[in-house]
Amino acid sequence: MLNNENRYLFKFAWRSIQRNAGRSFFIGFSVSLAVMIAVWVVSVFDGLNYQIEKAVVNTNVGFYQVQEPTYARSTDASKPLPYSGEVYETIHRLPIKSASPELVLDGNISTPEGAAGLVVLGIEPELHKKFLPIHRKMIQGEFLTSKDLNSVVIGQELANIFKYHVGDQIVLNYQDTNGELRSEILIIKGIYHYNSKAFEKRYVYTNQQTWQTLFLNQYHDQILYNRISIMTDGLKSEPMFRDYIKKTGMELKTWKQLNPEMAVVLDFHDGMIKFFFIIIGLTITMTIMTPVRMLWQERYKELRMMSILGVSANKFWKIGIFEVFQMIILSSFASSLFLIILIGIQSHTGIDFRSLNDGVAIERAGIKLPGIIYPILSADQIVITFTFVIFVLSVSYLWSIYRTLTRLEAEL
């Protein structure tokens, strides 16, 4: 706590701010507004990056994938591993939300409407339901159960192009585990509408039993996997995941490794934001420095008089530092308040960027890019806000105090 003298100086500093309330308000407002704008831009980009990340992980990628080594190297699905209790335990010891063991078969269909390459995913429906909400996005028919035989669930885009309906048959062409060309009939059990058109066209779901019978020519009566797709809160625990999975002999891949194009987009956004922050920081510091300096120069006579009365330079510094402190509190409060109000509203309404492409949704690297961006205000940004305000005001005030006191010293 402050002693009597410091308490008096603190009050003195507060009175000095109030003496020129309008001017102090303007300085604080300029800093607050600049910081608010800067943090708003960051929050928009954070929102955009979050939505991009979400869109990528929701294309059946997950934040992490634990892959069987042969599959990791060449996507060869012929050496799946059992999803045993031990594997389950290993995965669930990590901070995860859900995990879906999956088998992956590349196949194709050829009809009078054309041909298309498909990725047939063999899933355990109950586990997959916890991983992705596709079972809630069925527009026709139903989602899979583990008891279905030769049933598939396809995307709306594939159904539209090939004019498929629920109950229709698909002739799937593929090479089985022995490399032999096979054509098998599958029945469409349901049609989903989820994620991008590219996703809907490419991904077809079947249960483990059907997949194993198709590709391995027999059902092993257990869950197998080429990869285990894992949903988490993000990539923050990557080092921990990596250390842990390394010991199991399996390969760990993050969504950034699986979709490098969008990973670089996020890195690019981060780089731009840092650059932008530096520029705004320099601009606002330079801009604020002049009025703060003038503010202190105006008080030169007053400081001179006080100095003659015996007030030491040390105390002037204290007054100055208390003023900076109070201005920092006021400006930080104002910018935080503006930010919470603005971003609070926009995080619900969103910011519409669809006009950049005449309202048409864009797909890039297999994901649907967000047209409406919902800014995110995080604790990190509040910390950045405070740091920014402290930096700008401290530099401006301390420099001005230093210059004024140097002049005072020279003249006395």
Partner: protein, 402 residues
Amino acid sequence: MRSLAFLIKFSYRNLWRAPKRTIIMVLSLSLGTGFIIWDLNFAYSGSKEVMKEFLSQYAGQYHITHPEYYNKESRKRFNNYKTITDEVIEDKTLLEKSSRRVTAPIFISGEKKTLGVLLTGLEIEKEKKISTLYESVNVGRFLDPNNRKEIILGKKLAERIEVKMGDEVVVIGQALDGSVANDLLTVVGLMDFGGGELEESLAFTQYESAQELMAMNSDTYHQRVNFELEEETLPQFKNAVATRWDEILPEIGVSVRFIDSLTWMVSVIIVLVISLGLSNTLMITFFEREQEFQSLNIIGAKTSWITKSLMIEVFIMGTIAIFFGAIIGHLATIYCYYHPINLQLFTGGKNIIMGGMTIQPLVRLSPVMSYYWQVPLMIYFFLSLTMIYPLIRVIRRSSYAI
């Protein structure tokens, strides 16, 4: 006229009453102006370089095709039965600058896997002259124009179907006469697109091999790809259509437009921040001179005259700052022309992947003349806004004085 000259002189002298302060204000506005001009030039040149590098690899500036080749709703879909010949291109100079391509959606089979890809038949010699596609081959070699039935694959695709250099792959598709198209092609090269999605969805062969596979006449093809767009408007044809890259790849166009819009937004924010600071400084400066304004009032100067002199003062200061700012921005731009900026600065050293392809652009900045009047106009606009509040306060106080 004389009174105006006097007013200008009076305002100009006032500026130099506190030279340090004026210099700092001019400096901050100049640096802001300079940065904005540099930043806009950087954004424009960056977009141009990125697009140039991206388009010169494979996509080209525009495609001349049959009017029904590309689906009107989604250019990602195309009707492979719609072909054209050189007859439909009236302006024969276009033939020199462009390359013919045959597209074949096929299935490619390795020993253990069959995957769907787009096989493109290329005019090898022409492509080497006008595109940089051949530079992406990092294992083996590019296609030999004197050979037939060779294929180059993306690195990732080769890994997935487990084939290596010299292996043969089976390609199966549907020929244009309705028959089953199939052939055996030898892998002669692998392309590296930095792990982008095109690495597993594209394959290339000789133009003639693709024509033969698709049972096409020797004079028909699907696309004529032009890598140069000299004018903003696309050429017109009676029986063909030209489609620009941003219609074929809208996601890339939007990404570029997004960055451009962001740059303008940042510029406006910077001007706004500077304006707020200036407004503050002007207000303090004007209030400091309150007694002087009152004296001027007493000796007969009208409030409007004082207001005009203050406006001229700010205008002169703004003009000086903008002039120096434009010079600073221009010099910085020219410097970055000779010392290009690597965009990897923004990605922590990683390559940029766009449209499934890696690009490593060094941005050589070039000045865009329109920014040299657009930015000053914007600054004058904000400068005018900056003056409003301080002037209102001055006018009010002057009226009390009188």
